[in-house]
Symmetry: C2
Subunit: 470 residues, 2 copies
Amino acid sequence: MSQAVADHLIAQKDAILDRLMALLRLPSVSTDPAYAEGMEATRAFLLNRLTELGLENVRLLDGGGQPAVYGEWLGAPGKPTIVVYGHYDVQPPDPLGLWVTPPFEPSIRDGRLYARGASDVKGSTLIAVETIGAFLAVEGGCPVNVKFFLEGEEETGSPSIRRIIETHRELLAADAVLSADGGRASTSIPTLNTGSRGLCKLEVTLRAAGKDMHSGRYGGAVRNAIHELSRLVSTLHDAQGRILVPDFDSDATPLTNRDRADAAELAGDDGAFFAGPAALPHGDPLYSVRERVTLRPSIDVNGMWGGYTGAGSKTVIPAEAHAKITARLVPGQDADRARQRIVDHLRAHCPEGVVLEFSPPGGNSPSSTLPDGHPLLVAAEAVVREAAGRAPARARIGGTLPITGIFQEMLGIDTLMFGYAMPDEDVHAPNEFFRLSSLEDGLRGWPALLSRLGGQDAAAFAPWRKAPTA
Amino acid sequence: MSQAVADHLIAQKDAILDRLMALLRLPSVSTDPAYAEGMEATRAFLLNRLTELGLENVRLLDGGGQPAVYGEWLGAPGKPTIVVYGHYDVQPPDPLGLWVTPPFEPSIRDGRLYARGASDVKGSTLIAVETIGAFLAVEGGCPVNVKFFLEGEEETGSPSIRRIIETHRELLAADAVLSADGGRASTSIPTLNTGSRGLCKLEVTLRAAGKDMHSGRYGGAVRNAIHELSRLVSTLHDAQGRILVPDFDSDATPLTNRDRADAAELAGDDGAFFAGPAALPHGDPLYSVRERVTLRPSIDVNGMWGGYTGAGSKTVIPAEAHAKITARLVPGQDADRARQRIVDHLRAHCPEGVVLEFSPPGGNSPSSTLPDGHPLLVAAEAVVREAAGRAPARARIGGTLPITGIFQEMLGIDTLMFGYAMPDEDVHAPNEFFRLSSLEDGLRGWPALLSRLGGQDAAAFAPWRKAPTA
């Protein structure tokens, strides 16, 4: 049944490409109020297309910022209900001078479609939209119930997404999320994203005196808050960059052979990885670079300040110094516990009399994982295996996916990233592009995935659902 | 001859006290433009008084900021020419609510004259002015040639003093400087200030990458500039606060028994010293607290910053971090060499690939010392010995006296601090006061000192003069 839908989509792919180019001509830059008209036009385009394709209850969900575009088809009782996530906003196109062709005039060269938003993520979003439309046109219905949630603020950190979901919690109730954003970790190897690192954060204020002192009067005889905080920061890692915080990751799930094999397959070119930001390799030599940034935790001081930071010099001995610290967490690690281990470690190394204060706990996120046996993973692996002739490598990403965590917290459901963008497509940079071959791959992959998900009842998802925590 | 002058001054001390109170009523706060009228009135007061007393060429020396008040008496050919330094500006009086009586309404309680500027330094400045006037009135002349230089910007860091001296280098040519500011280091022991620590400074920029990175993508595999700079800062001192920079003070003159005996006599109450700013004692246990802050060098990071320092958190791995560092230096230490030792040490501890940049050298000042045998020191020690019945303890101060260095650099001459303020008189704080007994002590001490200085020819100062270096 999905084959007929895929064939229908492929037959129409020139029209779909034309439609994608029309969508890419609309400059939907969410960060810059100058593009308000482009945002408005893009919403109108999507509302119109969802309606044309036969979605119901098509509307905007407003949370006080850029509204999300919603549309549903709920004609498959007993089948899973899937939130289909995408976003219609794009990054600013600057610096304009570096684009070979203008960012909002889509241009095809060598099998690549160049335009701002082509890869991130209008291409994959339109694949999802057109797929549902094709099911309704060809089959008169979809294998699963669908609720589109197309965000307009992904590139600005989703400031109102929690309010939107909070206001429309019942409307958005579902069994799982399929995201058109994210997913392919390699240009040469079939991959599936199965999780992301978590995050915990703390801000430290260190006090070594009641007030700043003059080094002419006190220099040589008192503790200096910057010296003390520097010493504490330098106890977090050894000279090779290994974390020294005791028990920090003693609850982490040990890496499996499969984890390491997948990481090895996805290793890529470490030289190019470091050359991009002109960074210096560091970290635990027992792990490969890809393992360090995806399968192992990390701790970074993101900001530090104290004393006089203006022009010229001032002979002050600072009483206070500050640091912002975040840690990336791996499966098994409890985020609050990890934060507490860092706090405990800093306190243990703090000399008597020096006072440490920490920002209130909160805002920590655990890592996320689609575990073996999860219906989203089973279906997606089968689809990729069929398309690629081999099982996909499982890729974890080193970052923390905000929407994954938000859907988990607020709706209690898991997300599968199933976008068709590839990691080299210059998203957030000039000359962003999307491969035309990916458009075709997506128009085959999405029907196959929805069919497989529809092969089971909603009840199959029940064991994996959790109570919302926010 | 000085006795007659002193007797004359003491006989007039009520009138001099009245005059001091009139001077203290003029609110000469140099930092705040709201007090421009007070500054103007104070200058008029001093110009008038110097003229009344018979000084010549009385005028303002303008360097673009608050002008200095100048007046001279040059009727002692062959005798030393002495710049008499004082300052007529005062600290702001805030917080006003903590004053028992208003800061610009002088009030006498328990033998103390309370007012802003009483101790710092209108009291001692007026002692110097009245002393010269008494010599002219009683003796018809002064034992030495005198050039008053009464600054109006001491409390704002003397922003235009170099321009004033540069413009009037010939007018200010002299054999030595006598300062009414600074000098007494104890309320119970007679002391003479014989020197101050020097200063060298550097600003470090550390680069660990070409650009900031995202910890979701790079966390765990790259060097973090803040971690690296923290590690470098923590190599400057050991856990007890001892400097670890090799050869940093290998050129310092070893402490003499006399140095240590003077420091021991002046040790004071260490508990109260630390309690003031609620500071934590630290530093080389082989030296007493007073030795650490006056006779030993120190290194302090005065400011440090890098990465994200705004509200909330940002998961950035900073590419750059910065520190401002100054060191206090002791006799024998070459200031440029000391700075270079810190630079060398930081470079030696910097991992390969991490880039350090340092602000251009310059602006370093050596320590200053009035050496044994210097005519200023010989005369002053004799005066204090006569008045107190014992030799004064020699006190070095831990700070760097800007005017001492500036007069040395620009005029090539040494300065003796010979003020009568005491260290507990709450300068820069509410309820500043000056002891009435100090007024009387000063009205005896200054005539004695000028007489002794006039006991020798200008030629006696020639061996101690240096060529200006700026």
